[in-house]
C-alpha cells in the first residue's frame, strides 16, 4: 500500500477552527499542496487577512504575517520588493479584499506586483456574523440586507476577477470554485499556475475561489455546495480571465 493522500508538509498539525463544511480548510490545503509540489515552503511568506481566516498563520507551516483589514497586498508588496526571490501570497476574503482593501488590491494589481492573491469569495462577512459584502448577490439575505440585497439600495455585486483582469499589471487572473472534486482540482491547478506566474516574474496573479459559508448561509454543507453551483456560478462565471504569456 502506498500513501496517495495525506496532509501536506506546508500545513501544521493544528486543527482548524472553521465551521463544518467551510471551504477555508480545503483552500488552505490546496495552497499547501502547491507549495509542497513546487518545493517552495521555505521560500514562501504568507499574509493573512482579517476575517474567519485571520488565524491562518497557525495553519500554514511557513513564515506568516497577520495584516490589518484589507492591507495584505500592501504588506506583500514591500516584502516582495525587498526579498524578490521569495514567494508571497495573500489570503483574503471578500470583505477584506473587495471592500475595505479595494485600494490596496487594485493598486497591487496595477503595479504588477509579483505576488499571488488567494481571494476567497463566499458572498458575505463570515466572522462578524454574516453581513453583506460587496460580493453579496442580488436578492441575497444577510444580517445587514435583511430584505435581500437590492440594486437600488446596495448596488451590484462586484466581480473582482473581471475588474482586476483589466489592469495591465495583472498576469494571471482566474476564477474557480470548490463545490465538487473536479472544481477543487481545477482550483489547485489555478493556484499552482499563479505561483508559477510569480516565479517567472510575469506580474500580479489572483485566484478568486467561490467557496461555501454554510453557517451564515443557513444551509447544511451539502446544500451549500449546491448553492455555489446554482447561485454563485451564474453571476460569477468560472474560468481564466487573464493569462499573460512569457515574452
Amino acid at each position: 500500500m502506498k500513501k496517495v493522500f495525506q496532509k501536506p508538509e506546508s500545513l501544521t498539525d493544528a486543527k482548524n477552527h472553521y465551521c463544518p463544511g467551510c471551504s477555508h480548510g480545503l483552500i488552505h490545503r490546496l495552497i499547501a499542496e502547491c507549495m509542497d509540489e513546487m518545493n517552495i515552503r521555505e521560500k514562501t511568506i504568507g499574509i493573512c487577512p482579517v476575517g474567519c481566516s485571520v488565524l491562518a498563520y497557525d495553519y500554514f507551516n511557513c513564515d506568516m504575517l497577520e495584516a490589518a483589514h484589507g492591507r495584505a497586498p500592501a504588506i506583500a508588496t514591500a516584502i516582495k520588493r525587498l526579498l524578490p526571490d521569495r514567494f508571497l501570497f495573500t489570503y483574503q476574503g471578500d470583505g477584506d479584499l473587495a471592500s475595505i482593501g479595494m485600494a490596496e488590491i487594485v493598486h497591487a494589481s496595477a503595479r504588477g506586483e509579483k505576488i499571488t492573491v488567494i481571494f476567497v469569495n463566499n458572498t458575505l462577512y463570515g466572522m462578524t456574523g454574516g453581513q453583506m459584502a460587496p460580493t453579496t448577490l442580488l436578492g441575497q439575505v444577510t444580517t445587514t440586507s435583511p430584505y435581500g440585497r437590492k440594486a437600488e439600495n446596495e448596488g451590484y455585486p462586484m466581480k473582482m476577477a473581471e475588474l482586476l483582469s483589466s489592469n495591465e499589471g495583472s498576469a494571471y487572473i482566474c476564477r474557480t470554485a470548490v463545490n465538487n472534486p473536479a472544481n477543487i482540482n481545477r482550483t489547485k491547478r489555478a493556484i499552482k499556475k499563479a505561483f508559477q506566474v510569480q516565479e517567472k516574474g510575469l506580474g500580479f496573479s489572483m485566484v478568486e475561489i467561490l467557496s461555501a459559508c454554510p453557517t451564515n448561509w443557513g444551509l447544511n454543507p451539502l446544500d451549500a455546495m449546491k448553492w455555489i453551483e446554482d447561485n454563485m456560478v451564474p453571476y460569477y462565471p468560472l474560468g481564466e480571465f487573464k493569462v499573460k504569456e512569457e515574452q
Binding site: 492591507r71 500592501a74 508588496t77 525587498l82 521569495r86 493598486h107 503595479r111
Partner: protein, 351 residues
C-alpha cells in the same frame, strides 16, 4: 569632514540612507514631499526600494511588511497623512517592528494649512491610534539634527523593536543649513524574528491578534515593561541657563532655537530666564523639567499650537511651580514676542 548645504527634508533622507535604510514607502504631501522625492532619486542607485503608495494607509502597511523582513525601512508624511497612518502605527507597535516614521508637521485640524505647527504633539506622544502603545518621538531643531536623528532613530528602533517617529515642523523640512555629513552605518543587529522564509528554522509569525484574555493582558504588560525601560534610558533634553533660572521656558523643535534668542535677550534685561528643550517628546524628559525647577518661580511653555506639551510639563511639576502658556498657530512666534511675554510675566511676578 565634508560640510554641505542641505534642505532639512533632504538631510533627513540622506541620514536615513546613511543609517542603512533601504526601503521607503510614501505618499506625497506638503511639506514632507522632498523626502519622498529624494528617496525616489536615490534608492534605485543604491539597491534600495522606493514605492509611491496609493495611500497613506498603504504606505504605512508597506512599512509593516518591509520592517518584517528585517530591513531598515521608513515612511514620511505630514499631519493629515499621519492621521491616516495611525491604524498601521498601532499594528506596527504591537508587532514590535522597528522603523522610522517622519511627520513634517503642519497646522490642523482638518486640512488645516501648510504652515509649520506642533499641534500633533498629543497624537505623537500618546500613541495616536487605538490601543495602549507608544512610539519614541524625536524632535530635531535644525538640518544637522534632521540627519543625525534619522540615524539615531534607526538605532533606537532596532534596539527596542519599536517604531520611532521624528516630528519636525514644516520649517525644518524646508530651511537649508550647512551640515556635516556623517559616516554610513556598517554594523546592524541580527533580527531572528524577521519573516524572510523559514529555511533552516521554524516559521516566524508577525502577528497582532491575541484572542485570549490572559494572552492580551500579558502582551500589554510586555509592551509596557519595554516602555518603562525606554523611559528609564532614553529621556533626552537640552538645558540652557537653567541653574539659577526664575523663569524656565520650555520649547521643542525649531521653537527651541527661537526661544533661546529670547532667553538671551531677557538675561540682558536682567531677568533670570532659562530654557529646557525636550529632545525626546516621548519619553518626555520630566526629570530635566524638575531639575530646572530648582529656583524657578514660573514655567512658560511656548508652542506652535494651542497648548499641548504644557500638560506634560504640568504633570512633571505636579503643581510645584505654575506653568504659563504662549503659543500661536498659523504663525511661528518670533523672538520679540516671546521676549515681550517673558518680560510681562517677570514684571507680574516681581522678578
Amino acid at each position: 569632514m565634508e560640510r554641505v548645504l542641505m534642505k532639512g527634508n533632504e538631510a533627513l533622507a540622506e541620514g536615513a540612507i546613511l543609517a542603512g535604510c533601504r526601503g521607503f514607502f510614501g505618499y506625497p504631501i506638503t511639506p514632507s514631499s522632498e523626502i519622498a522625492e529624494y528617496m525616489a532619486r536615490k534608492m534605485p542607485k543604491i539597491g534600495g526600494v522606493f514605492v509611491q503608495a496609493e495611500s497613506e494607509l498603504a504606505a504605512i502597511n508597506m512599512v509593516y511588511g518591509g520592517a518584517s523582513t528585517g530591513a531598515r525601512v521608513m515612511t514620511a508624511s505630514s499631519s493629515p497623512g499621519l492621521s491616516l497612518k495611525q491604524e498601521g502605527i498601532s499594528f506596527i507597535s504591537e508587532a514590535e517592528l522597528p522603523c522610522l516614521i517622519v511627520n513634517v508637521s503642519r497646522g490642523g485640524p482638518g486640512l488645516g494649512g501648510i504652515q509649520p505647527a506642533q499641534s500633533d504633539y498629543f497624537q505623537a506622544t500618546r500613541g495616536g491610534g487605538h490601543g495602549d502603545y507608544h512610539t519614541i518621538v524625536l524632535a530635531p531643531s535644525g538640518s544637522q539634527e534632521m540627519m543625525d536623528f534619522a540615524m539615531e532613530a534607526f538605532e533606537l528602533a532596532d534596539k527596542y523593536r519599536i517604531p520611532v517617529m521624528i516630528m519636525a515642523e514644516g520649517t525644518l523640512g524646508n530651511i537649508m543649513e550647512p551640515i556635516l555629513m556623517r559616516e554610513p552605518v556598517t554594523k546592524f543587529s541580527e533580527k531572528p524574528w524577521a519573516t524572510t522564509g523559514c529555511r533552516g528554522r521554524k516559521p516566524n509569525i508577525v502577528n497582532t491578534l491575541h484572542l485570549g484574555n490572559e494572552e492580551l493582558e500579558s502582551r500589554n504588560h510586555q509592551l509596557f515593561n519595554k516602555y518603562q525601560i525606554i523611559k528609564e534610558n532614553e529621556k533626552r533634553a537640552d538645558a540652557f541657563l537653567v541653574e539659577d533660572a526664575e523663569i524656565v521656558v520650555v520649547a521643542f523643535g525649531i521653537m527651541s532655537r527661537i526661544v533661546k534668542k529670547a532667553v538671551i535677550e531677557a538675561r540682558k534685561k536682567g531677568v533670570k530666564a532659562g530654557l529646557v528643550r525636550p529632545v525626546t517628546l516621548w519619553p518626555f524628559p520630566d526629570e530635566h523639567i524638575r531639575t530646572a525647577a530648582k529656583n524657578a518661580r514660573l514655567f512658560l511653555s511656548v508652542e506652535i499650537s494651542m497648548g499641548q506639551m504644557i500638560q506634560d510639563i504640568q504633570l512633571a511639576l505636579a503643581g510645584r511651580v505654575p506653568v504659563e502658556f504662549y503659543g500661536r498657530i498659523g504663525f511661528t512666534p518670533n523672538p520679540e514676542e516671546i521676549l515681550q511675554e517673558i518680560m510681562r510675566l517677570a514684571e507680574r511676578e516681581g522678578l
